[in-house]
């Protein structure tokens, strides 16, 4: 591109600055009211005591021995989960990247399913596997739900796909001829791998590890269900302080700590990702996989398949089996009965609530995320706009519990009292869904050639017409994928929803958690049945999305 052409783009951008500001107005307002304001409310609730700022509160709270215990557990279980996930999933990443075997495409989709499953479903599935009356208990009398192993295994289950997608995705695109070149220069197979492939993969492994650490550090649903009274992460403690001890001030301080920790991890992650973008020779992934050769590769393939079967497929299979473990679908039929025991309404109503909330949340997330993506489309966006881009990602990393807690304390009193309206839940879920929408739409929108829009304009299309005739046909698919993501995220959202869902209007995950909190075989069975329904809906949504997404343009 000649300098003149590049500068031409910059000038045009200045001309459309007003239009872009108009586009940004809605997302900015949304984030100001539903993210910045609640976060500010949390800070004030935690550190503003009796009319004055008391930053010493931070040290007071952190000095308590049980809080220190929670912090320590949160950190080490996240580290252990990350290490265990890498250990189990890196061979998987290799197998998916470099080996070719029948059924690989299907298996890749299967491996991805856990990532979109609601945390509550995962917790329930592992309870069915390793908990009281679970499969292992039945067979050998082994129970892990009182140990940390249940949490660690559930975290591996969840994040397997993160490692396979991030590391395996890059691995498949690394040019195998680089390794071949090293071997022609005299390196052994192992040495070629260590000197050529490993350094290229390093940043991707680091990025994946950080993502897993972040997800497990902020793990809520899984720990809430599997941790019992013995194990509590920061997230769970925030919830406990809020809903059981009613110490909102301490909960706020913990949220601030959480916020800071997550911010630090995100900053490191952003740097890692930037480094990952350094020049690598990438090729089409389709051409790099080979049939397994030799005993070693066959054994590796067998090992990976076995670990997937045991860690990923078995828990879900047990979940389904347990939900059917009563004559005549008794657990499912119990869902529609109004026994007034656990809920004010039949549990099946939770499905209706969830769907209604999910539709509303999807619409909100699409409008907010779509407008933001449209405004951020231009590559030459200014620093302010780029900063907003980063801000949009925050709710993804900042835990759902933060969002829920923030909503709870900020939006239940004047000037903004939304406590009585049903829209509160979809708003929180949309906040969690917006980053997915932006990340899915932005690469596609940016790929639309500006001159294609100019060609349409010269042929007589007004700006609105240009968007409809040129942009829309190209982003329609991405828009569908984004909608699917937002829908799945909202459907399975637990951390934020549990704070703000009204007792008479539970969502599916909230209903499952509540059923599990009650004694009795029927409640247990109903939880299994509801989880199964939720799992099927989410898995179907994901498989449809995988079908739609042939271009792999987004980052998720």
């Amino acid at each position: 591109m000649t300098p003149a052409k590049a500068a031409g783009g910059a000038r045009g951008a200045r001309g459309s600055a007003a239009a872009r500001l108009a586009l940004l107005a809605v997302p900015v307002a949304f984030f100001a009211v539903f993210f910045a304001y609640p976060v500010a409310a949390i800070v004030a609730r935690g550190l503003h005591v009796d009319g004055s700022w008391r930053f010493g509160r931070l040290w007071d709270v952190l000095g308590q021995s049980d809080i220190r215990h929670v912090l320590w557990f949160t950190t080490w279980q996240a580290l252990a989960s990350t290490a265990l996930t890498l250990l189990v999933a890196l061979p998987g990443a290799y197998v998916f990247a470099r080996l070719d075997f029948p059924g690989k495409q299907t298996l890749r989709a299967v491996v991805t399913v856990p990532f979109v499953l609601p945390t509550v479903v995962v917790g329930t599935a592992f309870l069915a596997l390793v908990g009281r009356g679970g499969l292992l208990d039945d067979l050998w009398g082994v129970r892990l739900d009182t140990t940390v192993w249940a949490i660690l295994l559930a975290h591996v289950f969840f994040n397997y796909a993160v490692v396979v997608r991030t590391v395996g995705g890059l691995w498949a695109q690394l040019d195998p001829r680089q390794e071949e070149a090293a071997r022609m220069l005299g390196a052994s197979r192992a040495r070629a791998w260590r000197t050529v492939t490993l350094p290229a993969l390093g940043p991707a492994v680091a990025a994946a590890a950080l993502m897993v650490f972040l997800f497990t550090f902020t793990s809520f649903g899984v720990v809430q269900i599997l941790g019992g009274p013995a194990f509590s992460t920061l997230e769970v403690e925030i919830y406990r302080q809020t809903s059981e001890i009613f110490d909102l001030s301490t909960a706020a301080v913990l949220t601030i700590v959480q916020f800071a920790a997550v911010g630090a991890v995100l900053a490191v992650h952003a740097r890692t990702v930037r480094r990952r973008e350094t020049a690598l020779r990438l090729v089409d992934a389709a051409g790099t996989a080979r049939r397994p050769r030799g005993a070693g590769q066959w054994a590796l393939l067998a090992g990976v398949l076995a670990s997937i079967a045991v860690l990923l497929v078995l828990p879900l299979a047990v979940l389904v089996q347990r939900s059917l473990d009563a004559p005549g679908f008794a657990y499912y039929r119990a869902l529609v009965r109004d026994d007034g025991n656990v809920f004010l309404v039949p549990p099946i109503d939770a499905i209706g609530n969830s769907l209604q909330y999910a539709v509303a949340a999807t619409v909100i997330a699409l409008v907010v995320g779509g407008l933001a993506a449209a405004a951020l489309t231009r590559r030459d966006a200014g620093r302010l706009v780029r900063g907003f881009d980063a801000l949009l990602m925050l709710p993804l990393g900042v835990s759902a519990v933060t969002v829920g807690f923030g909503f709870l304390i900020a939006l239940d009193e004047p000037p903004l009292d939304l406590r009585a309206t049903w829209i509160l839940v979809p708003l929180a879920q949309a906040l969690v869904g917006v980053p997915f929408v932006v990340r899915t739409m932005l690469p596609v929108l940016r790929a639309v050639d500006q001159r294609l829009r100019e060609a349409a304009a010269v042929l007589g299309a007004s700006p609105w017409r240009v968007w409809r005739e040129v942009d829309l046909p190209m982003v329609r698919r991405a828009l569908l994928v984004a909608a699917g993501f937002a829908f799945a995220v909202s459907l399975g959202e637990f951390g934020a929803t549990v704070f703000i869902a009204r007792p008479d209007n539970p969502t599916l995950p909230v209903a499952v958690a509540r059923l599990l909190g009650r004694a009795g075989e029927l409640n247990y069975g109903q939880a299994m049945a509801l989880s199964t329904i939720l799992m099927v809906v989410c898995a179907v949504a994901l498989l449809v999305l995988e079908r739609l997404r042939t271009d792999r343009a987004g980052e998720f």
């Binding site: 003149a4 001309g15 100019e454 060609a455 010269v458 042929l459 700006p463 046909p473």
Partner: protein, 340 residues
């Protein structure tokens, strides 16, 4: 009638004038080609006329009406982009009909017009084809049909044949010339390829650093380049400073005859390769043959005189001396131009 008039049109990018007070008139039915190296501002010129690039000062008028404040989609122009920019989601017919739809033409008449245009550009019956299935030359034709369909008052072409291979380019340029003549289309094209410009244009405008260096018919520009820049851009290398007295110029290559009536005093001199005559080594300026390149119709020679810049000469293959041999050079005044 003036189809297009630019009046001191200026565009600045960060303080640098990419278009610097350009005056340009394109008459109705005229084909004008703007010729210049990349970065000379010729694409910006097109974008400014199209309304895709706002002017910093000056004026663009179409059919005598000032276009200030008229957005691109209301200017009723045709613009063919360098890489065509066909809409990938639409088939050939959909692309050609796009402008017709934007102008609200009824459906049945759209189909008729699309058929008509595809016939015109030599792709009859291609309306149902996918854009991705087209070859480079076919894309080129579809882009042309799409630009022509709404009957623009001015058709603009940005490096129209830039991406095609040589033989296709030479064929298409003849077709375009014929087509524009038949339709009476007013055309403003930009290109960096002089062959393309000379073959296509009624008038050639040479641009340099955002200014117009020369404007005239292809023959005028070829015969009398305005200055050393234009001469070099047209591919002439034998351009030197000289002092002209009467019909003789003193150059680094010695004395050379110039045509009667040439400008006098310190001047820039252009010696066309054909005007460099080769003779015996002891007859005229002694040069060593440094290189020879076969050019199909002739052989281009690089001659190295002692203590003077290299000379480019052209001669027939059978007369061409070997590399390393010594020749004597004299000059033909008919092929020498004293630049202003």
């Amino acid at each position: 009638m003036r189809a297009l008039e630019l009046d001191r049109a200026t565009v600045r990018f960060g303080g640098r004038a990419v278009l610097d007070a350009v005056d340009l008139v394109v008459a109705e039915h005229e084909v004008v080609c703007v010729l210049g190296p990349s970065g000379s501002g010729k694409s910006t010129l097109l974008r400014a006329v199209a309304g895709l690039q706002p002017l910093d000062s000056g004026r663009v008028a179409l059919d005598g009406r000032d276009q200030a404040g008229v957005p691109a989609h209301r200017r009723e122009l045709g613009l063919m982009f360098q890489d065509h920019q066909l809409f990938p989601q639409r088939d050939v017919g959909g692309n050609v009909a796009f402008g017709l739809r934007m102008h609200g033409m009824p459906r049945d008449r759209q189909g008729e017009r699309v058929r008509e245009l595809l016939e015109l550009v030599g792709l009859p019956g291609a309306a149902g084809r996918a854009v991705a299935s087209l070859s480079g030359g076919e894309q080129q034709r579809v882009a042309l049909a799409r630009a022509l369909a709404p009957r623009p008052r001015l058709l603009m072409l940005d490096e129209p044949l830039g991406q095609l291979d040589r033989s296709l380019r030479e064929r298409l340029v003849v077709e375009l010339r014929e087509l524009f003549g038949r339709l009476g289309t007013t055309v403003l094209a930009v290109t960096h390829d002089q062959g393309e410009a000379f073959a296509l244009a009624d008038r050639v405008v040479v641009m340099r650093d955002g200014r117009i260096a020369q404007s005239g018919s292809p023959l005028e520009v070829w015969q009398r380049p305005a200055d050393a820049f234009v001469a070099r851009f047209l591919g002439f290398d034998n351009v030197v400073e000289a002092t002209v007295t009467g019909e003789v110029a003193v150059t680094p290559w010695g004395k050379a005859p110039v045509p009667a009536g040439s400008g006098q005093g310190a001047r820039t001199l252009l010696v066309r390769p054909a005007g460099v005559r080769l003779g015996d080594a002891d007859d005229g300026l002694r040069c060593t043959v440094a290189a020879r390149t076969f050019r199909g119709t002739h052989v281009a020679l690089h001659l190295q005189p002692e203590g003077a810049p290299r000379l480019e000469a052209a001669c027939a293959l059978r007369d061409a001396p070997e590399v390393g041999s010594t020749v004597g050079v004299s000059f033909d005044p008919a092929e020498i131009v004293v630049l202003d």
